[in-house]
Symmetry: C2
Subunit: 361 residues, 2 copies
């Protein structure tokens, strides 16, 4: 057996799968933000032509899925599995939105870390030889999330400064198995590919490895400060990633968390620093980036769709263009439910790290 | 690359992973049923010493997990991943129940098909070389499910004959990678194992393959008749399994669905027959079996814990003893949420098939 596990909780792929196609779709508010031009599609109707917020979110997933499949140059029948999830109870957006694709499906839930979880599982399926093409996707919708987790919007509840704004959008990637091998981080090789094909293969964005997170609970109960709830989990998985891969922060062009927001960012940088790593120079958070200062979103954006759309809209384009070569993508999730909140439970966090690389570094 | 995909939606493992340890824990009602003696532990306190139904369900998961790890002869630190889920919104039982295990976690949701989904993903992780030992588990709890999906129990709502009773219980398995190879169904071989060790390896219960289900929606909206909602998905994946593996129903000792109940059973047998297969001779449904005729459960048992505890309590023991040699285990899920029900949506189904074999057939 080819063992691919390294360190305590990471995998380094021998044949790193690659991102064959990616698509993003967002709502109006996200389109008006600083990254608006990068997203593939904008849905300006909050209900996306459907009768409910949940159905609207499902529609966003369906459109992102179809666009990612098309951009990958695939037909639906080329996709062997879907790995998908969302924030809603019983994954309502994924279950109803993806039904018509008629593809075998694994539903996953990692709160807003779902894009990291779905990519991790899809990558193992592709690299393990179980599928040629796997679709990994997620979504969130401001209104379906508010309805699920918080107050009826009509109450006009005030939002504290640590609160975040749930992104309306969906991001989807087609992850495909690769024939090239990777012996050490930063170098690809192949015994049997002609040099031109090898170069083309090398220049794709590959998933070189994953570091899977544990549930981390610091006992924080403030559902309006999810950044603080998630930062410990993000710090834990990022530091473990460095240890498992024997890498230092300076070896990454960017280290990008999902939706910690302004409050969570400060906590994360402190946690990571206390463990001997300084990531402040190349750190970025999708939640802080996706909206502008003038968009009145308090600490930033959040939701599965936040890191999902920033990955497929912006991050992958920066990698594809060669602007960045190596990125650690770390979607972050707050394991919160209506019931756990009402029962006075804490909000544990989880985060999953995905090592993305383009070409030979 | 070693391709392991066969047919349209199946995987046949080259090195079939095996079930290294399994554990079941149930509530009083399940212990009083016809399979009571098979379950490992009985928790007679409906709240399991906790303050809420959800925390009680989480406690069942934690205990099943710890027992399965111990029965596998493992320490917690030997388990590389948890793949777990439950019926509750945002997987509340798994998130809170498994936190203290301190193991990297993938949360999954497939409604009551979750035991099939978690075993499928865990098996691919183990066989793909990504982990030596993976814990797959699920749970349900009568009271937490009623609270999540239906009426406050205090209302005393009448239960129609097609309704099912959510099982209180959790089932957990440790799935481990194997060094023996499988070239054709029914035969194991090894180039380098001594005959005694090979025989011991062969006699374990192996996961020989999986067939992953699609979401199937026949438009049924009756949440009190989940058997009818799930039967089409079960029929679809069972027939596809036969086609992909080139097998006939007679080649299985048992074909076992999760929780179709009495109504769903009849529909399933009809659907499968209409596609040219007769499984009536060796068919069994965990939901029909788990409670006795005198236990007032209408059409049978349901919930993730139904197939989870019947697998770990009874089915695996029948395989380990050699009573059965080959079983197709097909947990079935109804993709229902409080919100989808209130919005008048249909109840789509999904089912995942797992091919279990002991020894050389």
């Amino acid at each position: 057996m080819n063992k691919k596990q390294i360190g305590k909780q990471s995998v380094k792929f021998k044949h790193p799968p690659y991102i064959r196609g990616a698509a993003s779709i967002v709502g109006s508010k996200e389109a008006e933000g600083p990254y608006g031009e990068y997203f593939d599609e904008v849905e300006s109707d909050p209900t996306a032509g459907k009768d409910s917020w949940e159905a609207a979110e499902g529609k966003l997933q369906e459109r992102a899925a179809e666009l990612a499949i098309s951009k990958a140059g695939c037909k639906k029948s080329d996709i062997r599995y879907i790995v998908a999830g969302d924030l809603l109870g019983q994954l309502m957006a994924s279950s109803f939105g993806l039904m018509n694709l008629n593809i075998p499906m694994f539903g996953v839930y990692g709160a807003c870390s779902t894009m990291g979880e779905s990519i991790a599982i899809a990558s193992m399926i592709a690299e393990g030889g179980f599928a040629d093409n796997v679709l990994a996707l997620t979504s969130s919708h401001f209104a379906s999330a508010e309805k699920q987790f918080r107050f009826p919007n009509g109450y006009g509840t005030q939002r504290p400064k640590a609160a975040t704004w749930t992104v309306t959008g969906s991001g989807a990637v087609v992850i495909s198995s690769s024939c090239i091998t990777d012996s050490t981080p930063g170098s690809f090789s192949s015994d049997n590919l002609p040099s031109k094909e090898l170069l083309a293969e090398k220049n794709k964005v590959h998933i070189k490895g994953i570091t899977t997170g544990k549930i981390i609970d610091y006992g924080i109960k403030d559902s309006m400060n999810m950044g603080a709830c998630m930062a410990p989990a993000a710090g834990d998985v990022i530091v473990q990633h460095f240890i498992d891969f024997g890498m230092s922060p300076q070896q990454y062009d960017k280290i990008i968390t999902g939706d910690l927001g302004k409050v969570g960012k400060d906590i994360l940088l402190d946690i990571v620093k206390s463990k001997g790593y300084d990531i402040s120079e190349n750190y970025m958070d999708c939640g802080i980036e996706i909206y502008g200062e003038d968009q009145n979103v308090q600490a930033g954006g959040s939701g599965c769709g936040c890191s999902g759309t920033m990955l497929t809209g912006y991050i992958l384009k920066m990698l594809q263009s060669g602007e960045w070569k190596r990125v650690l993508f770390v979607p972050t999730g707050a394991l919160l439910s209506q019931v756990s909140f009402n029962e006075g439970d804490s909000v544990p966090g989880i985060a999953h790290a995905v090592l993305l690389e383009r070409g030979t570094i």
